[in-house]
């Protein structure tokens, strides 16, 4: 018994490839998407989306995006959705008279949307829009009665507009072309139909804007947030939407032209073009450099410090944000002073990047401030990152951080507010319940490995945050809790990365309270370098326990100093000091 046709298997195969891509090669993009929304299981949240055209698609898109917390679940959802879109396009094409010989062509809209989803700013709600309009066209093609299908189209327009936004036009345009080709409806009726569609297309957005919505007309017309920046026109999505109309009629035309003896060649040629084009297109669309940063960020968010270091060991990070994540991971594992120059360093910007008014950099930088004990600054960065989201969403990651920072600061009422929101989420409910329980008992907070410690690290002494005086802030923070090793190592790293050896020497003795077994490598390198370059008395030995190996290595480095990039010293501070601009 035949269960699946070849075409069905090909669709399943496509879905499988999409799944593998997102689950194994592009998984951190899905985690990235998930953090920038706060999907709540509440009527208020749903109704807020339903206030604007396309909001329903955004809502469903967000509903599915929340499952990208586990990237394999998100990958499954994308795979199923894109496969369904392809099947819908095929169904429309078949009902329009396409030959199954052209089955590969029906993959094009899904393939193109797959490419769009490689851009982290394209939101999943757009796929829902495509599915909604494709399904509505499918329904139209399945209705035999002329009055019924025309009525369906006209009545669907306002509903579809509200559910999917301006993409609703796909249905009436398809119906119009289809009816022309079928020649079952009189021209007069077709003209009336076109007129009604045209009036509705203009009237619906204009009425919505005039009476209900305060958005630019263009946004009211487009409706759904295909792109994270709603002011941008989603041209690419428009092309894909038009393909839902164009492909079925083109295939109908081509099916009439094809000669039966050349089918195998034609089919093979299509698959060849589709596969080679698809591979080229997706590999061009995928931004693996961003995927790398997102991988670093996700592991930092999950406190998987060893995984961050493993990523760097595999391939040294090149982007400033990856370096920021790596330095934090090294510090959390107690390795910053020992190994930071084993990896690429881009100056103090890779330690504590400056504040920017966006939603990515403050989120990552906020992690550093949080773990250092700058709880107020971490709170500010989380809030700013959330408010900077251009599609006006809230961020589940930011809300968690706001709950944590308020809890650490003892602002329990506002922490409870954030936690009560998180209780309405799917993945974070248990975490919120635990946090609420912890919050009820000061002892539990004190014993909490992170919150209790950060409470001890916070600054009791008030000072104003100063972007240009981070070393001073780190110094004040460390002075108040001299067990805060992270603050000390960041302070020292700050001076080293700034090539400020004067302050390095000045701050170095502060680390006495941390009881290092041996002076960390980068500190030894800086100390011996300063000593060699400032001591004029050859009988004197350096007053710090610097290993002989380090001393000999510096001599070797100095001997090869004439070379533009001396080999074998790229993991040393001296190499950074001399060769990093």
């Amino acid at each position: 018994m035949k269960i699946f046709s070849v075409n069905t298997l090909l669709s399943l195969g496509f879905g499988l490839i999409v799944f593998v891509f997102f689950a194994f090669f592009y998984r951190f993009h899905l985690n990235y998407q998930e953090q920038y929304q706060l999907f709540l299981f509440s009527a208020d949240y749903f109704l807020k989306f339903m206030e604007k055209p396309g909001g329903f698609s955004d809502y469903v898109g967000n509903f599915f995006t929340q499952f990208s917390f586990y990237s394999w679940v998100g990958a499954s959802i994308i795979a199923v959705s894109l496969t369904l879109l392809q099947r819908a396009v095929w169904l429309i094409s078949r009902k329009s008279g396409a030959n199954s010989l052209f089955y590969p062509i029906t993959f094009i809209p899904s393939l193109l949307y797959w490419g769009l989803l490689c851009d982290e700013n394209y939101l999943f709600g757009g796929v829902m829009v495509m599915l909604l309009v494709a399904v509505s066209v499918c329904i139209y093609t399945l209705i035999d009665s002329i009055p019924a299908r025309i009525s369906f189209v006209v009545l669907s327009i306002p509903v579809l507009y509200w559910l999917a936004g301006g993409a609703f036009l796909v249905l009436p345009i398809f119906a119009f072309v289809s009816e022309i080709l079928k020649r079952q409806v009189k021209w007069t009726y077709l003209a009336i139909f076109a007129l009604v569609v045209a009036i509705l297309s203009v009237a619906l957005p204009v009425i919505s804007k005039t009476y209900f919505l305060q958005y630019p007309l263009r946004q009211v017309w487009i409706g759904a947030n295909f792109f994270r920046f709603p002011v941008n026109l989603p041209f690419n999505v428009g092309v894909i939407a038009l393909l839902i109309i164009f492909i079925p009629f083109t295939l109908r035309f081509l099916s009439g032209q094809v000669k039966t003896q050349k089918t195998t060649i034609l089919l093979g040629l299509q698959w060849l073009v589709l596969l080679s084009g698809g591979v080229f297109f997706i590999s061009s669309a995928a931004d693996m450099a961003k995927e790398e940063v997102m991988a670093y960020d996700f592991n930092v968010r999950m406190r998987k410090w060893s995984r961050v270091i493993a990523l760097a060991d595999k391939k040294s990070p090149a982007s400033p944000l990856s370096v920021t994540c790596l330095n934090l991971a090294l510090a959390k594992e107690g390795l910053l002073a020992e190994r930071m120059f084993s990896y690429y360093q881009n100056g103090v910007g890779g330690l504590l990047p400056d504040f920017t008014r966006d939603y990515t950099i403050p989120m990552i930088t906020g992690e550093v401030y949080y773990h250092l004990g700058f709880v107020n600054t971490a709170q500010r960065y989380a809030f700013e990152a959330m408010e900077a989201l251009p599609d006006y969403q809230k961020s589940v990651r930011a809300v968690m951080r706001l709950a944590e920072t308020n809890l650490i600061n003892g602002n329990y009422a506002v922490a409870e507010k954030y936690l009560s929101l998180l209780q309405k989420t799917f993945y974070y409910r248990a975490w919120a319940n635990n946090a609420l329980q912890t919050m009820k008992d000061e002892n539990l907070i004190a014993q909490h490995p992170e919150w209790g410690w950060l409470r001890q690290c916070r600054s009791k002494e008030d000072f104003l945050f100063s972007e240009g005086e981070k070393d001073m802030m780190l110094g004040v923070l460390f002075r108040q809790n001299q067990e805060n090793r992270l603050a000390y190592e960041y302070l020292m790293a700050y001076t080293l990365l700034n090539k400020d050896l004067k302050h390095f020497l000045q701050y170095f003795p502060l680390g006495e309270s941390l009881n290092y077994r041996a002076i960390p490598k980068s500190y030894q390198e800086a100390l011996i370098y300063v000593w060699v370059n400032t001591n004029n008395d050859p009988t004197k030995d350096i007053p710090y326990p610097v290993s002989n190996a380090t001393k000999q290595r510096l001599q070797a480095f100095q001997r090869s100093a004439g070379a533009t990039q001396p080999n074998g010293f790229s993991d040393s501070y001296w190499h950074y000091f001399y060769f990093r601009k």
């Binding site: 005039t210 946004q219 002011v231 500010r380 809030f383 006006y392 602002n411 916070r458 008030d462 104003l464």
Partner: protein, 490 residues
């Protein structure tokens, strides 16, 4: 057919009635219930929307019996919260003016009913204005997301936007102000790449570019002259700085500030040396109800932000002649806050001219970020000043606005969670006696918990603000901005 229909309806109604359990309390407590919002013994106007509430405890059912004058009763039972039907509530209040409602609350815990001591809601016979206008904005730092200026009918839960920043993407909308609560005379600013000051005079909208060569900034904090011919504004060079210690978050400081009065008819800002003094910070202007005095906050210049916690403002007054737009030559200090190591912000005289309400903080002028911020009342007849303890809490009380009849005031407070500002309304009589304030009622008790925005600058309005946001959008997008004239110095 109709008969069957009526029978079904009656049956359903009886069924619902039958669902209500008889409350036979196993325990009767002497204390009044702890409810949210706290409406216990508050004074409300007779036209306020239903005071929906819940008990701050865990329970499987809640029951409330609300008794008004003439044995009128509303009885509600629910699993979660008490939501009072709007029509019945409005009728009950109307019939109980000048009297009190008696509310008896019971909750069901572990199968047993517990009844609390009844509490009162005093129904004032003094009317309140139509509604409130406020901005909803997340209590953030530098970056902002969606925000808007909204109006709310106090008799219902209807809220509608006046203008939202989604209209002009990337913009910020702020500083709404009305002439004596008149919805036809309004000021608000739209800031961004494109924007300006929206000035509505007698319902007609004008968009202004208020930056002049002689002033340090656009017009900022507004206050209308009672005649409607002038609006006083401060011009400020504003900065934000951020605290490291847990107890504080943000400090908003002025590097410089002056005061100008915008002459609407002549499209010209006017000022005088006393209000444009470089060695003094002048801000938060407000006119007296007779229009002949201009109140403002004044502080000695300090280096900002280094000395942010050393700047302290006094409450001052300068004479103003509305006939010719001139100022008196002398500044009077009405409240010397620096003498008590404090600082004054938001001076707001009552429309009847009897009182002046202001916010008192330890330093600076941006009280919303000051936990110690409290409301104070200055009796302009006697010169006596007192803390409004009936309205103040341990947390921030900041912006405030008088109703047009001077018998109610609304103020923003962070008392609920310490961060998200909420509007509270309180009564005040001729002698300055203040009723217990009540939180602006909402349709459900989870409203404030779920809301991620603060209520900013609550202002009374005597009627619905009729503004076409599309008209504002066209003016802004079409660059139809009128430049205000050159500053005229006295």
């Amino acid at each position: 057919m109709n008969r069957y229909f009526i029978v079904v309806i009656v049956f359903l109604l009886l069924s619902f009635q039958a669902c209500r359990e008889t409350v036979a309390p196993k325990e009767v407590r002497k204390e009044k219930p702890a409810i949210f919002p706290d409406y216990v013994d508050v004074t409300v106007p007779a036209t306020i929307a239903p005071l929906n509430f819940k008990v701050q405890d865990e329970y499987s059912a809640i029951d409330a019996v609300i008794e008004g004058r003439n044995q009128e009763v509303i009885h509600i039972q629910d699993k979660k919260e008490i939501c009072i039907p709007e029509n019945k509530w409005a009728q009950l209040l109307a019939n109980s003016k000048g009297d009190s409602l008696r509310i008896t609350v019971s909750i069901k815990k572990q199968g047993n009913w517990i009844r609390f001591a009844p509490f009162a809601v005093h129904v004032s016979d003094v009317p309140i204005d139509y509604g409130l206008v406020y901005r909803l904005i997340a209590p953030g730092y530098e970056v902002y997301s969606k925000m808007g200026i909204y109006q709310r009918n106090l008799s219902s839960f209807d809220q509608s936007p006046i203008v939202e920043n989604t209209l002009i993407p990337g913009s910020c909308v702020n500083c709404h102000s009305f002439r004596l609560s008149d919805p036809k005379n309004m000021n608000l600013h739209i800031r961004g790449k494109k924007g300006g000051t929206v000035l509505m005079t007698d319902g007609k909208i004008n968009l202004l570019n208020t930056k002049t060569d002689e002033t340090i900034s656009n017009f900022i904090y507004p206050f209308w002259h009672p005649s409607g011919n002038y609006v006083a504004y401060s011009v400020n060079n504003i900065h934000q700085v951020f605290h490291a210690a847990k107890t504080k978050r943000v400090e908003v400081v002025d590097g410089a500030s002056d005061i100008v009065v915008y002459d609407i008819k002549n499209n010209q800002p006017i000022s005088c040396a006393e209000l444009m003094n470089d060695s003094i910070f002048e801000t938060f202007p407000s006119f007296s109800p007779d229009g002949r005095s201009l109140y403002f906050c004044s502080a000695a210049h300090r280096e900002m932000p280094q000395e942010f916690n050393k700047v302290q403002y006094n409450l001052c007054r300068i004479a103003f002649n509305p006939e010719n737009g001139t100022f008196g030559g002398q500044i009077d200090t009405l409240f010397n806050a620096t003498a008590i190591n404090k600082s004054v912000t938001f001076p707001r005289p009552s429309p009847d001219g009897r009182y002046l309400m202001f916010t008192l903080i330890d330093y600076g002028n941006f009280s919303i970020w000051h936990k110690e911020a409290d409301l104070y009342l200055l009796d302009l007849q006697t010169g006596l000043c007192r803390s409004m303890d009936e309205a103040n809490s341990r947390d921030t009380e900041s912006y405030h606005s008088w109703s047009s009849n001077s018998r109610w005031f609304v103020f923003s407070s962070r008392r609920i969670d310490g961060l998200y500002t909420r509007p509270f309304i309180a009564s005040i009589d001729e002698k300055g006696n203040i009723g217990k304030p009540f939180l602006l009622p909402q349709a459900n008790t989870g409203f404030y918990t779920n809301l991620m925005e603060s209520f900013n600058i609550p202002e009374f309005v005597t009627g619905k603000v009729e503004v076409d946001p599309n008209e504002i959008e066209k003016m802004i997008v079409g660059d139809k901005v009128s430049q205000v004239g050159k500053l005229k110095m006295q």
